[in-house]
Amino acid sequence: MMLKLIATRLLGALPNIAGVIVITFVLTRALPGDPAAYFAGGAATQEAIEQVRRQLGLDKPLLEQFFDYLGALARGDLGLSLTTGQPVLQELLQRLPASLELVFVALVLACAVALPLGVLAATRPGSWIDQLCRIVTTAGVSLPTFFTGLLLAYVFYFLLGWAPSPLGRLDPMFSPPPQVTGLYVVDGLLAGEPGLAWAALKQLVLPVVTMALFVLAPIARMTRASMLAVLSSDFVRTARASGLSQGTVLVTYALRNALLPVVTTLGMVFGFMLGSSVIVEKVFAWPGVGSYAIDALTASDYAPVQGFVLAMGILFVLLNLLVDVLYVLIDPRVEVNA
């Protein structure tokens, strides 16, 4: 039964993938000016431009171009980067672990702070912790990530000297560990170099905190709201009236039910994070896919930007799918209904 539900969710994600591909295709064909003239170079003659147009298939009808595009995607061909001359897909895959490391560690940190904060605020409405939660949720969504990032860098690197130089994933003293997972901290430990893992962890702290501060707000807000709703429901009152301990009521009865809407918000939170990771990567010179796209943008190199938009779109659809599946797995009512 559960497998069937998960399969339904999988099918439901297909139109979104299709939508992402169509939009990315439209964006590739909407390049400023004539793409053929652009790829032929500034000094190209009219014939050379026509030749490039035929080579790129830009003289074909739009529908045929779309199927060519699909075919290229199926082969994993996202084009070549003009600045580095490397296939875009290969470069994206090479840099993806750095971005994912940032996103997932920040998510774990944000949840670790936001969930208890939301629960405490809901159990003591009007108390100082509720006020704190209110301030955090309102301020959190107003903070531009680049502002928080720079502020943290100024305070913890320049003033206090606690953090290492906020540039890149690793102090230039170290060389990257042999790649196993692509996550430097884990790879460093696997390679038996705790010093390297420690250095990588220190580099990770500021960007991760910057990002966590940004997504703390929606998670805490949703936890508080849904905890409040659950705590005033009949089954919690019954549980209390039956003399169950405060801890049992809060965790087993209330929190488990309150988490469901929070899990749903995680989809939106992932969207925020993938977007803000671009900015955080620029602030901290983090060599992920976001800074790759920015570098390409600055150099008017469009294939990497388009590859990046497509990759982020598909990644986001997959993460949403993961959230949906997680929801099915933790919702205690699914089995009853099915």
Binding site: S142, F146, L150, F158, S276, V278, V317, N320
Partner: protein
């Protein structure tokens, strides 16, 4: 749910400002009740009043900023480059000796201008699309919903990057990209409002008295969808400012030397590690205050229009 209950006749709805809904009787009575409610919301949360004052200040700076700043925001002077805040230069000077205070103030117009035009565009396009989708249903609904789902299938900031990169690096395209990524929110609000009301008694009554579908949409359903849309509008403003500033921070849209908060922060980013904090942190702080103002206003509007949805 919105303030208006579809089951009751329009006369029993909570009072809305008179210009949105002509009240046949008890106009002054109703306005008095409305005024009391607004005052109650304001007194319960004094921060709202602060937000309203901040908002007035922002509008003033956007309108008159260029005429009141102490220095020319574009005039560079190498003799006073990178100076910390002083009586002469309140926010210090940047690497070219330009006065940061003047640049931050003058930037207000561009930042608010981008956000207002983008949000207005999403509102003007999204509301009719959403209302029609919710009211007519069928294939029209399927197309509009698919469109908004497809936009939402992207991380929105990334989609905005892609749009600006594809269409060209101009301020106009920043507005367009910001409008596109905000569109789904209005479509969803309007669709939901039209959907729950399309079979309400007063809609039937309006139809029976000879109103066309489009007239019902414009004159009867649109005013009902306005309160939640206004809340969305205010929350979106903050978000649109953040988004536009983020795009120019990564080098899209606004070109130097035009002052804009995102670019000003980007220009100062390299000086943070050497301790010249004022170049980035003043424009960043101003940006944060502006976004904060709009978010607080959005919360306040929600409290005023829909007390039940408070969190």
């Amino acid at each position: 749910m919105s303030a208006a209950d579809p089951a009751k006749p329009p006369a029993a709805e909570p009072a809305l400002p008179g210009r949105w809904r002509a009240a046949p009787s008890g106009e002054s009575e109703r306005q008095r009740a409305w005024g009391l409610h607004v005052r109650h919301v304001l007194s319960e949360n004094p921060i709202t009043l602060l937000a309203a004052l901040m908002f007035a200040l922002l509008v003033f700076l956007a309108l008159f900023g260029p005429y009141i700043v102490p220095h020319d925001p574009l005039a560079s002077n190498a003799a006073v480059a990178l100076q910390p805040p002083s009586a002469q230069h309140w926010f210090g000077t940047d690497a070219l000796g330009r006065d940061i205070f003047s640049r931050v103030i003058v930037a207000t117009r561009l930042d608010l201008g981008i956000a207002v035009s983008a949000v207005a565009a999403s509102f003007l396009i999204g509301m009719p699309l959403g209302l029609a989708a919710g009211f007519f249903g069928g294939w029209w609904d399927r197309i509009v919903s698919r469109l908004s789902d497809t936009i939402m299938a992207f991380p929105l900031f990334v989609l905005a990057m892609g749009i600006v990169a594809a269409l060209g690096n101009t301020v106009g395209n920043i507005v367009l990209a910001t409008a596109v990524i905000n569109l789904p929110f209005y479509i969803r609000v309007a669709r939901a409002e039209a959907n729950v009301r399309r079979n309400a008694g007063w809609v039937e009554a309006a139809r029976l008295s000879g109103n066309s579908d489009w007239r019902i949409l414009a004159r009867h359903l649109f005013p009902n969808a306005l309160p939640p849309a206004m809340v969305q509008l205010s929350l979106n403003m903050g978000w649109a400012i953040l988004n536009a500033a983020g795009l120019s921070f990564i080098g899209l849209g606004v070109r130097p030397p035009d002052p804009e908060w995102g670019i000003l922060v980007a220009e100062g980013a390299q000086f943070i590690v050497s301790g010249e904090w004022w170049v980035s942190l003043f424009p960043g702080g101003m940006l944060m205050l502006a976004v904060f103002t709009f978010n607080l206003l959005g919360d306040a509007l929600r409290d005023i229009f829909d007390p039940r949805r408070r969190t």
